[in-house]
Subunit: 791 residues, 2 copies
């Protein structure tokens, strides 16, 4: 049916567009319940300290205060990964960053709760903090580690893998390039504050909160509260953006749940913007050393060493460490690949998964390094990349199975639109073009929990009035996943989008979908929805065939009519058909589910990287650099993205443009600076991110490769397009003024400094000089699967 | 599995008990939404009038008034039955009772809306009203009929049926008894006011209202608003009682929906108690002539003529007319039966289905007449009834298929407990015992709409956390239908009731269940739930059998554990099993549905009366009558009810006691008196219904006949037990003081009058003297099926 879609592929309106644009959407902070209490959290003022004593009696005695809790009330730890159960809802013995929750108050209003915090007496024994990767690598020499369980002192996680013979590759290479890069720290500055609540305190009633993954919160909360999951219901109300930062279960969610249980009343918390800068999951700052050898058509050996600044807790940190290495192999031919990674605990908020999760940092390093190598080889950067493209339907060195690859088309498209081949290297001083690529997963091949079980489930009910209700545990965090579900079911059943009612993000009502992370939703819920819808379509077509006296195979459905393809006059309206079908088959309901194919290698960490389908992006950035001030102005971004199939091109373009915008901010201005554990600028007034004025014209080209695993061929669009943007800008800066800024953000100060250094005869580079010495374990040697045909 | 229930048959707590008893249940009137408007309705002050003109401009101009509508804004008529589409949301051309809605206002608060009503100018042309059955039967002589479409002038509906040879039966009878009875008018004085709203005005969003039948409101509203049903969602919030009075779609529901569409804002209406006395569906007052012939063991011919006072609109009136005749045949052997019925339009609020729907009135007549005949035959009333009991698994004269009959056990039980055989006729003057029986349906065999389609649908989803969610369109109106669904699914799956989450009374989320009327819910949703649950149990047991390496047939489930019956140590906890089963089968969801067997005869009106199963009740009332004042005090009620199977005996007893209470009120005090179309006492302060002080000790005996069509054998309990109460009390009054009060309510005035009349040598009877002459059509002659074995 790929040749004649009715809804798929068209720029349909989002199902929640009217509510959102008319201000009628109720976000968690808008919700209110009778007898609701308000919660405020007392947070640590020290980056690293031992809790000697907490006295809550004065706070408890305040009129209007209903309950005060500390860590002793919530002793069970939690975390997002099975191996990461290191977070406490409220710190029990020690605090690990400024902002770590220590006590919580439920009171009749926010002001009373806030006032009560001042009456909680906490006695701390201050410990020396660890505030950077470098400090985290220093020997402890008797100092207390941040956590007791790390792989090595304050080094949380050490990974060393080698696929094939990397040194042998280097030995044969014509050119070897080695560089050091830094991607700096920045938080997740989504426009909306995080919030949880209100919580209805009845056993087995509703907790509401802003989360990307209600089912993971469900599981974590059952553990924290010592309740069977059947007694807990998580509802995620509409969320104004997630970007990875709302993937983890959070301590404030556990806190309000516990307070609601204790008080028997709903409890609501709305974090302030300042709190969000602490209680968040930003992108890991990563210091990287990259070494690449090239010989004729093939990269001959590639080695990547990375050091991640993990902050005070694990979050997704184990996965983040592996991810930082995993996806380097899927864009270009890399027969041999060596990856060393170390994640360091520091006394800052935990870093976790931000858009692109672990992959934008090494992608920056790889794409800037390739640009440097192209220069040395005298090749146009476009040609260097085109020559070395990975081949579709093969495996990579690290055993990732790649199916469709639209990267070549992406490169050709952005190059043609930007006239890259003609203009690169030939623009006047101060103007430049830069090219870079990226790749990302469409959902993780392995689940975080619940191995071998469906990643997405969909249940559909058809009402005899003609309405269709779709139940799915997925969470629309603004990306449009509700809309995509509606388009797909409407397409399959031949109804209009307006006939679809959606029930999502509710653990009681909807089957499990793992959540809105890893760009998994369209592919996984889409496949589950197609399966469920086709079961119902079969029942409907069976009835229609009987009524119209034609074979079921000759039937199609469109615009609320089922008709015979050979004779469109033989037709039956959908609402009439569902009545006949219900009379024949009974209540019309069906389930569908999706479990991704089991791919990936047989080595430790192989679970991070395999996906049903990889997406590819290519980006050209045109910049203008003011050599007098170092200011970089991005004039235009051309971006092409291989989305497999655009189920709604308008939504895909929105995702691509959003990714470009975020990449632009990370490239040029976003930076989180700490001073003795305190954020220097925990406010949106001071924190820099691009405004409308700094956002250039963006030209988006969608490439459709029709992936066999995607619903109608669709792959992801929400994260991948971010990846090429920062390196494309860095490369464009070089093309414009001849300096290399090998760390983000590329601030005017850095550009100005590099220009001045170059004018004085220097290298004209700003970036880390070296990666601190660290003894990685002997790498696990794994046979390279590079070039093997995909099963 | 009937021999070893885990949950069924036990006095489990209601699923909503904690919320209700702790005041946390939010009824419709408790709900509030942002930007919500408040609606007030201007109602006719005339019982019968033509609307000449309406001017809403002054009301519209008031500050705070957002919209004013009249009948021209809602031209489409509606009604509950397909043949009854005579109601207007707002009167267009004429009004037919005091209270008929004429205009409606939506304003920013209730006070403004109320104030605006005074500014709506309505010019009426007053028409002569029809205020009683007698007036309704008078020839029009040029007067305007209330409706133009009635069968004959103001006679809405005329029915005349004869099954077998009634006159031939009378000719052979040893005794013929002929009486005239009146069951007076009373409204539905449920404790809670009716309300609808708030309505979310977005297309395809939520309307909330207090209704017994959300799916019928859904259908009716689609017609009134000219919208496809898929764009309308009806949610019935918890309802504090229905009793039939919330079965119809109501005009105030249409009005708030239209106002919400016009204003783009939610609109709420809460009717005042006075309004509820007008905008309600009370029980039809029925004037009855009953003639019974008896010969030895069998009733030889039975003729019933009834005149119903229908009020101004149809409501369920066509069905009510047939019902008034239909169920007279299922308790005793009646080889030949003749029924004449006429429903008269009057200028009062429409009468409709109140607990027992049409059947308590003729049951009163039959049971009191039998008492009189027993006296004449010198038989104990118990023996007369026992001799003439209908036989199980046979057909009746009017083609009703009766399966299980527990009436004999019911009679024996109440007689034994009350010592009826010994004490009847032998108590001192002023004390008396009375006996009566009743029978009722367990759901209607034919639907109101949607012929041949399921009457109930259930969809179940099992979460991998172990929670089970049950979706069903049924409406818990206090009777406990949500609880019964939970018990049944928990029984089938072997989980605890706390593991069940319920989603009911929501047209978007739940499959259609026709609604909480006709005592249909336990049987029909119960069967649908069993079907759906057993599909899932089969999947779970298949997985468990594989895991435990035992045959699936050897497995059972209880208390969240699936185990092998032969070896209980072979077991697997339910939450663990669902994960394994989901891994094996995909998302665990299933549907079930129930369509009743098609029974009933092939004559017009045969659709009213057939049911999957009839219930039976017997009642003994002990009264004390104060001969000086005529006051009747009921000392005790013994009631036995054949419920088939008590899924929760505590809930069944609650239903039985509630029925007794309502029957007590109808027997002794409830009466709705009109004066020129106005209620004399439209307030709960003045309107008499029993308080705790007037409610006697009630002894309930449950008889379980295990009906083959019921879920685990269950039949209804919510309506049938009302039926024998009023005649038992009337018969007890006769036993106490020797007077016959042949009309309800049996007030002290009537008893006193009868005693005085008797003292003066009269008959000692108060009641209608005659039934007005009315020419019924020749009865449709139908062959009697009496005594035929059930198919």
């Amino acid at each position: 049916m790929s040749h004649q879609f009715n809804i798929v592929g068209k720029p349909n309106r989002k199902v929640d567009a009217l509510q959102k644009t008319s201000g009628q959407t109720l976000y968690a902070a808008d919700l209110s319940l009778p007898r609701m209490l308000h919660c405020k959290i007392l947070r640590s003022i020290h980056p690293h300290a031992r809790i000697v004593a907490i006295d809550t009696s004065a706070a408890q005695a305040l009129p209007g205060v209903i309950a005060v809790i500390t860590g002793r009330d919530l002793p069970n730890k939690f975390g997002i990964l099975p191996v990461s159960q290191d977070e406490e809802s409220l710190a029990v013995e020690k605090v690990r960053y400024v902002g770590d929750p220590v006590a919580a108050v439920a009171a009749v209003d926010e002001e009373t709760a806030q006032a009560a915090l001042k009456h909680v007496q906490v006695e701390y024994e201050v410990l020396p903090p660890v505030m950077s990767i470098e400090e985290g690598l220093q020997p402890l020499d008797g100092r207390e580690p941040i956590h007791a369980y790390a792989d090595q002192e304050n080094i949380h996680k050490l990974v060393a893998l080698e696929f094939g013979e990397v040194e042998a590759g280097f030995a044969e290479a014509d050119l070897i390039q080695e560089d050091v890069f830094l991607r700096g720290q920045h938080p997740l500055a989504a426009g909306r504050t995080r919030r949880a609540g209100p919580l209805r305190s009845q056993w087995q009633t509703d907790r509401l909160g802003s989360t990307q993954c209600p089912h993971y919160v469900h599981k974590a909360m059952a553990g924290v509260l010592d309740l069977p999951p059947s007694r807990i219901r998580i509802i995620a109300p509409p969320t104004g953006g997630g970007f990875g930062g709302k993937t983890d279960p959070f301590n404030h969610e556990m806190i309000v749940a516990k307070l609601a249980m204790l008080t028997g009343r709903p409890v609501k918390i709305v974090l302030t913007r300042e709190e969000v800068f602490y209680a968040h999951r930003g992108r890991h700052p990563v210091l990287m050393r990259v070494k690449t050898g090239v010989k004729r058509r093939l990269d001959h050996g590639y080695a990547l060493s990375v050091l991640l600044d993990g902050g005070g807790y694990v979050s997704y940190g184990v996965a983040s460490t592996y991810y930082t290495g995993a996806l380097q192999t899927v864009t270009y031919n890399l027969p041999a690949y060596k990856f060393d990674g170390a994640r360091v605990f520091t006394n800052k908020p935990a870093c976790g998964p931000k858009r692109g999760h672990g992959t934008p940092q090494p992608r920056f390093a790889l794409e800037v390094q390739l640009d440097k190598m192209a220069g040395k080889l005298g090749l146009n950067p476009l040609d260097l990349r085109l020559k070395h493209l990975a081949r579709p339907y093969t495996e990579t060195a690290n055993h990732l199975t790649v199916t469709t690859i639209g990267l070549g088309e992406c490169l050709e498209a952005v190059a043609e639109r930007s006239d890259f081949r003609e203009k690169y290297g030939k623009l006047p001083f101060g103007k430049g073009l830069g090219l870079a690529c990226g790749a990302y997963i469409t959902g993780a091949g392995l689940p975080i929990y619940w191995n071998k079980m469906p990643h997405s489930g969909v249940q559909i009910k058809i009402d005899r009035g003609g309405g269709v209700t779709v139940f799915c545990g997925s969470t629309d965090i603004g990306q449009g996943s509700d809309s995509v579900l509606a388009y797909i079911v409407a397409e399959e059943l031949g109804v209009t989008v307006n006939d679809i009612a959606l029930v999502t993000a509710d653990t009681d009502l909807a089957p499990v979908d793992l959540g809105s992370y890893s760009s998994r939703v369209t592919l996984m819920t889409g496949n589950a929805a197609i399966q469920a819808a086709r079961k119902l379509r079969a029942l409907l077509f069976e009835t229609a065939a009987r009524e119209l006296m034609v074979p079921a195979e000759s039937l199609a459905a469109r615009d609320n009519v089922v008709f015979c393809l050979d004779d469109e006059a033989r037709r039956i309206p959908f609402p009439e058909l569902v009545k006949l079908a219900e009379a024949q088959h009974g209540t019309l309901g069906a389930v569908g589910s999706y479990t991704p194919p089991r791919r990936g290698g047989r080595y430790r960490g192989a679970g991070v990287g395999p996906t049903p389908a990889y997406t590819y992006s290519a980006c050209v950035a045109a910049v203008e650099v003011d050599a007098d001030t170092g200011e970089v102005r991005v004039e235009k971004i051309w971006i092409a993205h291989d989305v497999g199939r655009a189920i709604n091109p308008l939504l895909v373009e929105g995702q691509v443009e959003g990714s470009v915008y975020m990449g632009l901010g990370e490239a040029l201005m976003e930076e989180q600076v700490f001073r003795r554990g305190l954020h220097k600028i925990p406010s949106m007034l001071d924190y820099k991110s691009p405004t409308f004025l700094e956002t250039p014209d963006i030209e988006t080209i969608l490439i459709e490769t029709n992936d066999p695993e995607g619903p109608y061929g669709a792959k992801e669009a929400g994260q991948g397009p971010l990846l090429p943007v920062p390196p494309a800008i860095a490369n464009a800066v070089y093309d414009a003024v001849g300096v290399r800024i090998d760390e983000t953000p590329i601030t005017p100060e850095k550009v100005f400094k590099a220009l001045r250094e170059k004018a004085r005869g220097g290298e004209g580079r700003v970036g880390p000089k070296r990666v601190p010495h660290i003894i990685f374990p002997e790498p696990v040697q794994v046979e390279s699967r590079w070039g093997q045909p995909a099963e």
